[in-house]
Amino acid sequence: MTVVIADDVLGVPPPPPPPRPRVLLIGTGFALAAIVMAFAGLIGLYLEQRSAALASGGTWLPKGADIPLTPGNVAMVGLVISAFIVQWAVYCIANDDRPRAYLALGLTALLGGAYLNSVAFYYTQMHLTVHESVGLLIYVITGMHLAMAGAGIVFVGLMAFRALGGQYSGRDREGVVAAAVYWHVTVAVYAVIWFTIFVTK
């Protein structure tokens, strides 16, 4: 069957040119919605449990446990810097400055790796175990964020290799933008974790 579009008959104007699909960017947005909700649920539970413990006159962290702020601050600063750098990568690819785009994407992945290392170090300093409810919740939340950051490093790395293959340019930078958006949300989620768990304890 041939589709007949009655634009002349109906007197409607000719259609606009087809928009460039933004498949990867939109798909990334949906995936981030699911990820953010996973953290929202866990952090909501964390706050609820802590509030209940403090309201009953008890303490939240178990005896002997400590959450030193310095490693968390260092990780936070590193991730904030990486957020600026990944945006620099978007700027560079938009301006067809490919060498600097490669450099920015590489630096983002490097700072992501440094974040993973800093959290691993953090775990050795907290004296919390997974065998108590507070430790369990903190390890699940931060562990899931480690997984998110790890996936972000893979995403950024993949886009960097695609860019190296000549796939992205000023006209089409969707993949790099999608990776940057993912990374920004990763940093934002860590900022919430940093404040609710590490700062306010």
Binding site: M1, D7, V12, A34, A52
Partner: protein, 530 residues
């Protein structure tokens, strides 16, 4: 008169996989092709077939539970633990292994065609989602068989349940992302969001809600898994796992699973009323409002830490507010029918039956929210789920009958189809309505009623009979399906004189100028008479 316009090839992901993902018949090496397929039609059929198999499982368990309730004061077929496990599996299979996957299957086939896309976005991810769902679903069932799952006595079985259900949830989210992205990014030129068919719109809004709520559920499952894996049980032993899942099976979240019912009804009614849909924008808005009000992830803590959540103003207000868009949508459909010349067809029967069941379910939910009735924790909970998931089952089975050129390429027998619709309507009413009344008589949900009040046995008997009728309807549907598949292929692409793009021969090569491009074309060709 402008004729079909050819669109440029879509860029990025879809172009890369286009050769293997367009809807062409499977060729030689059938099994290898099936396992490696990224064709949206093949994947959709796999989702549909697998989810129907899980429907049979859930239905059989439901019948066993119904038989157990014939003498509600004692355990006859099952013991206490088995009853609780069977009740849990019945719910998990109905929601996560049947209802959601069946909607995803139909959406995977129909929605790309409705929006004029040659394939689904991220076809390889869509394939990965199906196989992950299949493996995860089988593992969920195995976990119950080895005495795992909620209320299970085998710790490793419980671990397996939590991990495999998380796997299923990830698969569902991934599948939702592929279809929702298709609607957002791969629409035909001129097909703005305000012009998309109601089914595609309902899928977009529903999947957005599902993605968010299932994302939260995934986080909870990870926590429960780690908690149980290290045997800490800080967030509940096996008996409490069911409570963490309960928000997904009751109001308002269960309504979110029925949002596509409205899309199906909204697409079918104008076609069978032989009339242009009235107030398309209002229909879009009411579906969107219903989806937004059905978002229930915010109640996830309620089952465990806040038993009084159902008495809070927000919960009560949302339970009543969700009725408004549903009633407005129903009014719009009635107006379309009033202005048309109705012809009877099985899809219309399915659509009317599904809408009635959804209305009944949401009305029962509003009753449940009235604190004075004290229906929370009674069989009224099950009744709402049966009404709403019954509506989903009726609409999805109706969708297979309506969109048979896309889904089956072979017609179904109209007489058997009407019998299926009628049996489903009668069965769901008989299954769910007595449970509302039993709820008023204090029969508890998910356990036996040790001191039953007068009439409970009769009500439970009617409910059991309803379950049998539903199973009978599914058997008739499967027989009809088997007869259809055994028959010859029918190349009629538009048997109902549809209004939207999926009824054109090649919807991926058009430019559209309205919400009903085929109806416009037909009216233009006949000088205005549809």
């Amino acid at each position: 008169m402008a004729m079909t316009e050819t669109r440029p090839e879509p860029a990025t992901e879809t172009a890369a996989g286009a050769a293997s993902t367009t809807d062409e018949p499977l060729t030689a090496g059938g099994l290898a092709n099936l396992l490696g397929t990224g064709r949206h039609a093949s994947l959709g059929r796999l989702w549909i077939g697998t989810s129907l198999a899980f429907l049979v499982l859930s239905g059989v368990i439901g019948l066993a539970l119904g038989a157990e309730r014939l003498k509600p004061e004692t355990y006859n077929l099952l013991d206490r633990d088995n009853y609780a496990q069977a009740f849990s599996l019945h719910g998990v299979a109905a929601v996560f292994l049947f209802a959601l996957p069946l909607v995803i299957g139909i959406a995977t086939i129909v929605v790309p065609r409705q929006v004029g896309a040659s394939t689904v976005a991220f076809p390889r991810a869509a394939a990965a989602a199906f196989w992950t769902y299949l493996i995860g679903g089988v593992l969920v069932v195995i976990s119950y068989l080895i005495n795992g799952g909620p209320f299970g006595g085998n710790d490793k079985g419980v671990d397996l349940f939590l991990a495999s259900l998380a796997m299923v949830v990830v698969a569902l989210v991934l599948a939702c992302i592929t279809v929702a992205t298709t609607v957002m990014a791969l629409r035909a030129p001129g097909l703005t969001l305000r012009r998309v068919p109601l089914f595609a719109w309902s899928i977009l809004t529903a999947f957005a809600i599902w993605i968010a709520s299932l994302g939260l559920l995934f986080g909870v499952l990870v926590l429960l898994y780690v908690d149980h894996r290290y045997r800490l049980f800080a967030y509940g032993a096996t008996t409490d796992i069911d409570a963490w899942l309960r928000w997904t099976m009751t109001q308002p979240q269960v309504y979110a699973f029925a949002v596509p019912v409205l899309g199906f009804v909204g697409d079918v009614v104008p076609v069978f009323a032989r009339a242009r849909a009235r107030m398309h924008g209002v229909a879009l808005a009411t579906i969107g409002a219903f989806a937004a009000l059905s978002f229930g992830a915010w109640t996830y803590l309620g089952a465990v830490d806040h038993p009084k959540l159902t008495q809070q103003f927000l919960f009560v207000a949302a339970s009543f507010a969700v009725l408004l868009p549903l009633l407005a949508f129903t009014g719009g459909m009635a107006d379309t029918v009033r202005n048309g010349r109705v012809r009877l067809g099985s899809p219309l029967l399915f659509a009317v039956a599904a809408l009635l069941m959804l209305l009944a379910g949401v009305a029962a939910g509003a009753l449940r929210a009235v604190h004075g009735f004290e229906l929370v924790g009674t069989t009224a909970d099950s009744s709402i789920a049966h009404y709403v998931l019954g509506a989903v089952a009726i609409a999805t089975i109706g969708a297979v009958h309506y969109w048979w050129p896309q889904i089956l390429t072979r017609p179904l027998r109209e007489g058997l189809a009407r019998l299926t619709a009628t049996l489903l309507l009668l069965g769901v009413v008989a299954l769910a309505l007595p449970d509302v009344i039993s709820g008023f008589l204090d029969e508890p949900r998910g356990s036996l009623y040790t001191n039953p009040r007068d009439g409970i046995a009769l009500l439970n008997g009617i409910s059991f009979a309803g379950g049998i009728i539903v199973v009978l309807a599914v058997v008739v549907f499967v027989v009809n399906l088997a007869m259809s598949l055994a028959g010859g292929r029918d190349d009629d692409v538009d048997p109902w004189e549809g209004h939207t793009l999926e009824w054109s021969g090649d919807p991926s090569s058009v430019t559209v100028a309205s919400a009903t491009p085929l109806l416009d074309a037909r009216e233009a060709a006949t000088g205005g008479a549809s």
